[in-house]
């Protein structure tokens, strides 16, 4: 059931300890900063977080990690110049890392939303990221078996939502949003604008409302602080 809420705190209130939480965004584009801050405030812990990175600087996901609220990261690129909180936790053995090639991350998230039980891909074949995984040769190419990544909750950012929860995004801020929305049991979206049902062209809807559970509006501009 789709609900529109007035605050990010209300939006994330149902997130339980031990949840797997997908967080959209690639770099700052598409990152739901306000929802991540609310996740910080709500106190949920022992989280598995799925994101392309593992937090940057002293904000958002990095803070969640610093505070010990993230048990495990599933991501493609944890190490960055300003990923010091993750780096420290990792070196201290206080956070688990599942490192996933970015395309496998995307395809495994997509598989979860699409009901696929697993798939073979050439990506990673013959590398240490395939160690311990099932492999087979298909049409002469080595391939690795990869499994879907499901989540309890997805926190994503879109440009606009209509009254049915249909979403459109903006430029490269689209990135992981649509596939995370489909892969999570509960999808929570922050949007810049809510428009009347019928105002979005049905040809251009990117995420149909069936994938959306909770919507909160964060007016554009107020979200720039973290950029």
């Amino acid at each position: 059931m789709l609900t529109f809420v007035d605050s990010v705190n209300e939006a994330v209130a149902g997130i339980k300890d031990g949840s797997t939480v997908m967080i959209g965004g690639f770099g700052n584009a598409g990152q739901p900063f306000e929802l991540i801050d609310a996740l910080m405030d709500c106190g949920a812990t022992d989280l598995t977080v799925v994101n392309n990175n593992a937090g940057q600087g002293d904000q958002g996901l990095a803070l969640l990690i610093k505070e010990g609220r993230v048990r495990k990261m599933i991501c493609s690129f944890p190490r960055q110049s300003d990923s010091w909180h993750f780096d420290a936790k990792y070196k201290a053995g206080e956070i688990e890392l599942e490192l996933v090639p970015q395309g496998n991350l995307a395809e495994r998230i997509r598989a979860a939303g699409a009901g696929i039980g697993g798939f073979f891909t050439p990506t990673g074949y013959g590398t240490m990221l395939a160690e311990g995984k099932e492999t087979r040769i298909i049409d002469g190419r080595g391939q690795v078996f990869e499994t879907p990544i499901h989540a309890d909750v997805a926190l994503i950012k879109a440009l606009k939502a209509d009254g049915k929860g249909n979403l459109v995004y903006r430029k490269t801020a689209r990135n992981f949003g649509p596939i995370m929305a489909a892969a999570a049991k509960q999808t929570i979206v922050q949007v810049s604008e809510i428009v009347p049902t019928g105002a979005l062209d049905p040809e251009t809807v990117v995420t149909p409302g069936i994938y959306v559970n909770t919507i909160v509006r964060i007016p554009a501009g107020t979200t720039e602080k973290a950029a």
Binding site: Q102, T123, Y125, V206
Partner: protein, 225 residues
């Protein structure tokens, strides 16, 4: 080995920009290309309008334009290196699974990547030094390495310590097996693949001089290679 002399196309080793210009020149008109992050992105500076190259960035865009300047900067429009870029007419946006499906499905003509090492048969090592305690990070490298029709590498031939990055067999953890088809370095362009390595041209050295730097047997590539 008199053929060696004819391979030399430059009296001096190439700088990063000259190398980028060379790669750009070698990209066939109408190609769809991914330039990864870092040094290979320099190639975009030398692509001509006549070439009509379409650039892909794996965070969800075809038709990427040059780096954004001043007022053009838009936090929602970045490349895989998280640098603000611009949009060209005829661009399109898509989500991450669609973007990687495009790469992994073999639709890109060329991707250009950096490397730590490339083996004679085109194995690529570019994501992890394997050093104890190093935090690994792979990003889209493995997908690009296995997905593009041609994988070009741009790198210096030698490490700071003087070791060749063209090797018989990679000692760093692999990114992909047998995926690299060409290696552009400051001292030579190498062709790699199932038949082993050959040299297309040299810069500021002869094939014999190049051979002294590289611990695998080199031969000149057939013309047109």
């Amino acid at each position: 080995m008199s053929i060696a002399t004819s391979l030399q196309t430059s009296a001096t080793p190439l700088g990063r920009d000259d190398l980028a210009r060379l790669v750009a020149r070698d990209i066939a008109p109408g190609s769809f290309v991914n330039l990864g992050i870092g040094q290979p992105t320099l190639v975009s500076n030398y692509l001509t309008a006549e070439q009509d190259i379409t650039l892909h960035t794996e965070n969800g865009m075809l038709g990427m334009g040059p780096e954004a300047q001043g007022d053009e900067i838009d936090g929602d429009l970045i490349n895989a290196g998280k640098i603000p870029v611009t949009e060209l007419p005829g661009a399109s946006y898509f989500h991450h699974a669609d973007s990687f499906a495009m790469m992994r499905g073999g639709h890109l003509d060329i991707c250009v990547l950096g490397a730590f090492q490339v083996s004679v048969t085109g194995d690529l090592a570019n994501w992890h030094t394997g050093a104890p305690g190093a935090i690994p990070a792979v990003g889209g490298a493995m997908d690009l390495a296995t997905g593009a029709k041609d994988v070009f590498v741009m790198m210096t031939l030698l490490t700071r310590e003087g070791a060749s990055k063209i090797v018989d067999s990679c000692t760093y953890p692999l990114t992909g097996v047998g995926c690299v088809t060409r290696v552009y370095t400051d001292k030579a362009v190498f062709l790699t693949g199932p038949e082993g390595v050959s040299v297309r041209e040299t810069f500021g050295c002869t094939l014999e001089e190049l051979q002294e730097l590289v611990p695998v047997p080199l031969k000149a590539a057939p013309a047109g290679g």
